[in-house]
Symmetry: C2
Subunit: 142 residues, 2 copies
C-alpha cells in the first residue's frame, strides 16, 4: 500500500507541573528507529489530533495529560526514515509518576538544561524550538 | 482504498498587504463540496506542509505568497464530508491581483468585517479563530 500523502502523527511535550522547574519526559523507543524521542504516535482515522495526543500520552507514559496548546507542525520529507510523516507537536501538562509502556521501552525525566541530543527523527530540532519558546516566548516562524 | 489515517491538507489565509485594511481571499470551489472556502488542498507525499501551502496558493489564486506563520491545525473527523482530513492553516501575505484557477471557479476579496459565513468545511470556525487572533492576538488554546 502506497500512501499518496504524508502520514499524520502527534508528539506530546509533557511538562510535569508537580515537580520543580517543570521537567519534561522523553522515552526510549522499543521499535526502530531505536533511541530517545518525545512521546507520540500515529493519528488514527476518525480521531482528532487532540484525541490522538491524549491517547498516545496515556499509552506510552501512563499519564492522563492536559493539553495546553498546539506548538508547531514538522513535516520535512526526510524527518522519519520509514516513510514521510508529519508531526503535530503539542504542549501538555501532567502530574504523578510516569510509566513507560506500549512503544516505550523506558523513560526518563529531564530538566530543560539537561535535555539530551541525538534524539530520533527531528526531535532535536523540535526541542530546540520548544526551549526557545519556553524561555523567550518565540515561536517558529518563517 | 481505505486510509488508516486522516489525510493532511493545508489552507492558506492570504492577506493582501498592498491594499487598505489587509483584506483576505476566499475562493468558490469548482468541485464538491461546492461553496466558498479558504484556498487550500492536499499535501503531497514527499512535500513539506510549507511547500504545499505555497504551491496551493499559486495554483488556486495565482499568487506567490509569503508564509508568515502556522496558525492552527483543525482535525474534527466530520470537518470534511468526503473523508477524514486534517488541515494545517497558514497565515501568509500576498500582493497584486489574484486570479482563480485550478480547483477555484471564482474568488473574492473580503475585508475582515465583511467575511461571509456558511463556508465549506469548518472554515467558518477557522475564520472566527483567525479574526480573534488578528484583532486580539489570542490563539486557539485548550
Amino acid at each position: 500500500m502506497t500512501y499518496r500523502n504524508p502520514v499524520p502523527t502527534v508528539d506530546i511535550i509533557v511538562e510535569l507541573i508537580d515537580r520543580p522547574s517543570r521537567p519534561i519526559i522523553l522515552i526510549e523507543r522499543k521499535n526502530p528507529p531505536l533511541g530517545w524521542a518525545i512521546p507520540g504516535g500515529f493519528v488514527d482515522y476518525g480521531e482528532s489530533v487532540e484525541t490522538a495526543a491524549v491517547r498516545e500520552a496515556k499509552e506510552e507514559i501512563g499519564l492522563q495529560v492536559e493539553l495546553i496548546e498546539q506548538f508547531h507542525v514538522y513535516s520535512a520529507p526526510d524527518r522519519d526514515p520509514r516513510k514521510h510523516t508529519l508531526s503535530i507537536v503539542f504542549l501538555a501538562t501532567g502530574t504523578g509518576e510516569p510509566q513507560a509502556a506500549d512503544d516505550a521501552k523506558n523513560l526518563n525525566i529531564f530538566n530543560l538544561w539537561e535535555i539530551p541530543t541525538n534524539l530520533c527523527f527531528d526531535h532535536d530540532q523540535i526541542l530546540r524550538d520548544y526551549r526557545r519558546y519556553r524561555h523567550y516566548q518565540v515561536r517558529p516562524r518563517y
